[in-house]
Amino acid sequence: MASIRDQFEIPGKMKTWSLALIGIGGAALLYGMFTKGFGADEHEQTHFWGTLMYNTIFWTLICNASMFFICVTTLAMGGWQQSFKRIPEAISTMVPIFGAITFAVLMYVVLGHKHHIYHWLDSEAVAKDPILKGKVGFLNPTFFVIWTTLAIGLWSVLGWRMRQISREADESPFDNESGARYILRGTIRAALFTVWFALTVGSTVPWLWMMSIDAHWYSTMYSWYTFASSFVSGMSLVALWVIYLKNKGYLELTTQEHLHDIGKVMFAFSVFWTYLWFSQYMLIWYANIPEETVYFKHRVQGPYKGIFFLNLIINFICPLLILMKRSAKRNYTLVTFMAVLIIFGHWIDFYQMIMGSLSKEHVTLGWLDFGILAFFVGCMIFFVSRSLASKPLVSKYHPFLKESIIHQV
């Protein structure tokens, strides 16, 4: 054990690149904010805040998916993730940071009364609308603010507590009794996070943040769909960091076997995402009720047609055909390629989920989207690498570490 490199040092190049991305992206963000976001034209305002919203929600949710991954593997008494567990942990430290940005943006939109984004904010329109009146107990600013605060706050706190308990396995070995107690405590904390995750990402938060843009429309698949989307891209992000650190000569204990299992999760959840995509689409297509088809009308037949089907090709056909083979999931180059493709695909997915509703007449994808994306990618690289460098890469005395070392698929 003494010989493994368990202290990550941030390469200078990485720092330069991440700061450059933050610089370019931040410039685009600020330029967009002052020319569009605070401009006089309502279409421009909606364009800017919508673009910022889907980016920040996407990155908050995929970083939060890392913590969900740790919690479910802990609950399932999994051992195989121990050798690279610090990577999802480091990614989950982004939840408070991206969460704060999301919170600020959503508060600006809701308290700033941007009813071009959330139609239900317009109380005069709601008073005349029987459907929106029926939803008023859920879709109102007070509930939105409280629930958003609770969601982001508890993700951050419960996630922080999970990371704290993981750090306890760094210092001294456990005997049988204290080891069992340690595992039990971890299980309890993981269970708390998972329950809260199910109540938020698994149901309410996507309804509030994203589905309520189409205030009249609803789909029971929506939250699961959002969850599947964020989880599969979250696992792709973990795969990218694992491969990066392996290439730099860290993570000696993580092998192709672990990569194979991460690849399996990416493959399986791509198919799961498609299952939800299809379940949502087919029922609405089949019933053909106008109040439901309104969501798909401009996506399938309007300007978003290309993006809508590109989304399906990138997120379903490609993972299905490319990641199916065992040798593909064990190949670093191929998994890297697929991870980047999947993250990009689900980013596009979030794009069409939000901007498809906000800008129905034309596709807005342009410099602003990629600029803001660059800002978030830069932030993610910068902070995750700092968090990785601040603690050992392997929790040496974790009771399940050996299981991870001898892990074999």
Partner: protein, 196 residues
């Protein structure tokens, strides 16, 4: 297939079995098979077995199922007997996806089970020789095939030194048969060129 002569070594621990497999292979003996009470991870690697092609077969069965479903439904509902279901077009792909999915799974599952049985020579009424009954309970049974040059006593001693708790020499039919075994009783040693 004619009968052959085998030396059988029984191990009671996985941790002993792995080094023993390595030693036996390094000494140049040909391992016929290792029978274990449960699937032992990594044993196929230790034995130097090639990767199974069962999953490739599964993929082929799967796409056969997909194309059977899409082909037959589209022929039936578009060409042979077009029906109007709720005003949907005759070629309505989304409605067919569930059935296509089910047929893909069905073909892949049934095909793979049958292929698996074929590869393992398993079928109703088929009989095979059991080298040790406790291989289905708690013993790891290593079976080594003898050639005319094999010194059986040496090999048995070698297996014992590698950790076998019990060794044995058996002359047995390695293949399968139906009903009573009525083939040529000649063993490997005295298989004189009657057939050749």
């Amino acid at each position: 297939m004619a009968k052959k002569k085998f030396v059988v070594g029984c191990f009671d621990e996985e941790a002993v079995l792995f080094p023993a497999v390595k030693k036996v292979r390094a000494a140049g003996y040909k391992i016929h098979d290792v029978y274990t009470p449960f699937a032992v991870h990594g044993l196929d690697h230790a034995l130097g077995l090639r990767e199974t092609s069962l999953h490739t077969a599964g993929f082929i069965y799967g796409i056969t199922g997909t194309s059977t479903a899409l082909g037959s439904i589209s022929w039936i509902l578009v060409k042979d007997w077009p029906l109007n279901f709720g005003g949907k077009p005759n070629f309505s792909l989304p409605a067919w996806i569930p059935i296509t999915f089910e047929l893909t799974v069905l073909f892949a599952a049934v095909g793979m089970v049958l292929t698996f049985c074929y590869l393992c020579q398993l079928a109703p009424f088929v009989k095979k020789h059991h080298f040790h009954p406790r291989a289905t309970d708690d013993l790891f049974v290593m079976v080594i095939e003898c050639t005319e040059k094999t010194n059986v006593d040496d090999l048995q001693a070698f297996l014992s030194s590698a950790g076998a708790i019990e060794t044995d020499v058996q002359v047995a039919e390695p293949g399968w048969w139906l009903g009573t075994y009525d083939k040529d009783e000649t063993t490997f040693e005295n298989s004189n060129p009657v057939v050749a």
